[in-house]
């Protein structure tokens, strides 16, 4: 059963993520209207928004602690927020600032926050093997940490995903693969890229537990994830969890979505996981004022993070040559080695 505080926390994360992306969208479009020039404005490059995916990040990450690892794909903001990634530094990263998580080198598809064991890959399904590696580490070090790889339903046809399932299964590793099924791999609807309607059935071929959450509902996700993450943490091996989400936006900002039927866009708009979550909260006795308070707090936090980020300095051009070894060995930097943080398993 999901408790009062958890419900509140999940809702807070969801509305934070939604509002965060609304604000990012505004910032992104600044300087891109009427001509949409991808390299113009305060946030250049691609921007993949996750509006409509929030229930998945919140429901899964509710079971995770800082020492658990999460890898996210090119659409990472909601997962990052639910995993507790530093919002200010993440925002500064997206604005390409010096104080960003990666000093402006990564951008929105490549967010790393080792404090909470969060990492991304912008290449489809390529976050799966590193999640397996984090799970392998937990097993070797005999901690009860787990790893979760988030991916889209388009990624489940990728070798890196399928190979990761097999390796995780045969090594009995504490990892959960969370498929966010938003029905669209850019322009390709799910039925045109796989004959298996339920992506979690991919797990069955590896004799692994697989389960699909059909409802875009954070509480149902929470319950299914409790089971999957519990199984991993208790040493009972990996699982696949597929969650139905909705793509409320284009694949990326600027996607004209001319391939997508209007009805599908309307359906995704109607089935809003945040509205659904508000119904859940009311059922649990939350008053409108409570919800309003949570929303206001979230908006304030987001506005502050964005304001702070925009105020940060841009990196100096010379920073291009830092954080990498090159063929000029004179100034090869010392790399920090990662300290082993032993957890006794009881830590929360």
């Amino acid at each position: 059963m999901v408790g009062h505080n958890t419900l509140q926390q999940m809702y807070k994360e969801m509305v934070t993520a939604r509002y965060y992306e609304e604000r990012l969208q505004e910032e992104y479009l600044e300087g891109k209207q009427p001509a949409f020039d991808i390299s113009a404005g305060p946030i250049p490059g691609e921007l993949h928004l996750a509006a409509g995916h929030e229930a998945s990040g919140a429901g899964v990450c509710a079971h995770l602690r800082d020492s658990d690892t999460v890898t996210a794909p090119h659409r990472p903001h909601h997962v990052a927020i639910s995993k507790g990634v530093d919002l200010e530094r993440m925002t500064a990263e997206i604005f390409g600032r010096e104080t960003g998580l990666s000093k402006g080198k990564g951008g929105h598809m490549h967010l790393y926050d080792p404090e909470v064991n969060f990492a991304c890959s912008g290449i489809i399904a390529q976050g799966c093997p590193p999640a397996v590696g984090a799970a392998l580490t937990a097993k070797k070090r005999n901690t009860d940490d787990v790893a979760v790889a988030f991916l889209g339903e388009g990624a489940i046809s990728q070798g890196a995903f399928l190979e990761s399932l097999n390796l995780a299964a045969v090594q009995e590793l504490p990892v959960v693969f969370v498929i966010e099924d938003n029905d669209w791999a850019i322009s390709m609807p799910k039925e045109r890229v796989t004959d298996v309607e339920d992506g979690s059935r991919r797990a069955w071929g590896f004799d692994m537990h697989g389960e699909r959450v059909d409802a875009d509902d954070a509480v149902t996700v929470y319950e299914a994830a409790e089971d999957a993450i519990g199984r991993a943490r208790d040493g009972n091996g990996p699982s696949v969890l597929e969650v139905q989400v909705h793509r409320r936006m284009g694949h990326f900002m600027g996607d004209p979505e001319s391939y997508r039927p209007d009805e599908d866009v309307e359906r995704a708009q109607r089935r809003d996981c945040i509205t659904r979550m508000e119904t859940r909260l009311r059922e649990h006795g939350f008053e409108e004022a409570d919800l309003e308070g949570i929303r206001e707090g979230a908006h304030e936090r987001v506005d502050e993070a964005i304001e702070w980020a925009k105020d940060q300095p841009e990196p100096e051009p010379e920073a291009t040559y830092e954080d990498v070894f090159t063929n000029s060995p004179d100034d090869w930097p010392e790399r920090p080695s990662r300290e082993v943080t032993a957890t006794d398993g009881g830590e929360e």
Binding site: E46, R97, S187, V193
Partner: protein, 344 residues
């Protein structure tokens, strides 16, 4: 160089963007040969993320303009297999950066099959892929990787810099019986959402014409220094040459157009004339196109060489933030400065 009867770009009133020129060539080949088909992610209903297949679905349908699952190893390998059967697939890798997820099919199968079979099996496949940065898409979506593909034997490597060449090279690529890697720079495609510089949009004849592989194009003749480059940087080099001309420095600009085969002779001829070679490359500095060109110049024209330099991306992954990517990218000013430094 086009066939004798084909008018040159400047003689044509109708201008095309690079993407439209590519599409026109693919469509033409598909009309003439049932065995040509296109396979890739988002190539049908979307028309290619960078418009490389825009409009083809309407004419040829989903059977011949095939959207495929995100399974590059499978569909690139399937392209190789179909080509081994004699078909002429045009397979699109959405970003060259994604080569990692299918590289075995490309370099162990596509590139080596002809040789490993003692020449008994051909692989007439065209792999087209988007390359390049300048729009802050960071380390995993901005690479050119010219040197990586050109390094591995068995693949022809084509890099058009303008619409006229893009069409002629595409015709040649599809008709070629060897695997061809056709690398188009996103910034040159003429996309409304990623405006191209002056230059890549050219007059393009409506008829079919081929541009032979291995023939570099001297875009600007000059006496003082030779700038050898490709892709986007052809236009930056030309712009730099215009600026240099105002200071009395007369630079020659060579567009390689294909890396494999490489037109060494045109480069050597120019170097023998100017005595100074600058290679400009958006790819990484080490072990790549710039090093190869300078090596060939020293092998073939050592006694004529007075100075060499290269203007390339540094050996770092591609940073996201605007000031960092600007630092990473070889600019027009960088090119001009390098030419000045070796001509003084």
């Amino acid at each position: 160089m086009a066939q004798a009867e084909t008018p040159s770009a400047s003689e044509i009133d109708r201008e095309l963007t690079m993407s439209r020129a590519m599409v026109e060539a693919i469509a033409h080949e598909m009309r003439e040969d049932e065995e040509v088909f296109v396979m890739g992610e988002d190539v049908a209903d979307y028309g290619g993320i960078f418009d490389s297949t825009q409009g083809l679905l309407e004419e040829f349908g989903h059977d011949r303009i095939m959207d495929v699952p995100i399974s590059e190893t499978a569909f690139m390998g399937a392209g190789v297999g179909a080509a081994m059967q004699g078909m002429r697939p045009v397979c699109e890798l959405m970003f060259a950066d994604f080569f990692g997820v299918c590289m075995d099919q490309l370099y162990n199968n596509m590139a080596k099959t002809t040789y490993m079979s003692g020449g008994s099996v051909s692989v007439p496949m065209t792999l087209m892929t988007a390359v390049g940065g300048t729009y802050n898409d960071a380390a995993q979506h901005s690479q050119t990787l010219y040197g990586t593909f050109a390094h591995l034997p068995g693949m022809k490597v084509v890099v058009p810099s303008n619409a006229y060449d893009a069409k002629g090279l595409m015709h040649t690529a599809i008709r070629d019986n060897d695997p061809v890697v056709y690398m188009f720079h996103k910034r040159l495609m003429g996309l409304a959402w990623m405006p191209a510089p002056e230059g890549p949009k050219t007059g393009v004849p409506e008829e079919r014409y081929e541009i032979p592989f291995g023939e570099a194009d001297v875009k600007r003749e000059g006496e003082d220094a030779t700038i050898v480059t490709l892709g986007l940087h052809v236009h930056r080099a030309l712009e730099a040459a215009e600026g240099l001309a105002e200071d009395g420095i007369d630079a020659e600009v060579i567009d390689l157009r294909t890396l494999v085969p490489l037109d060494t002779e045109t480069v050597l001829e120019s170097v023998r004339k100017t005595g100074r070679l600058i290679v400009v490359d958006e790819d990484y500095h080490s072990y790549g196109v710039s090093g190869e060109l300078i090596a060939r110049a020293t092998e073939g024209a050592l006694e004529d060489l007075e100075a060499v330099d290269r203007v390339t991306a540094p050996d770092t992954p591609i940073p996201y933030s605007r000031p960092l990517e600007n630092e990473f990218q070889p600019s027009t000013d960088d090119i001009a400065a390098a030419v000045r430094s070796i001509t003084q």
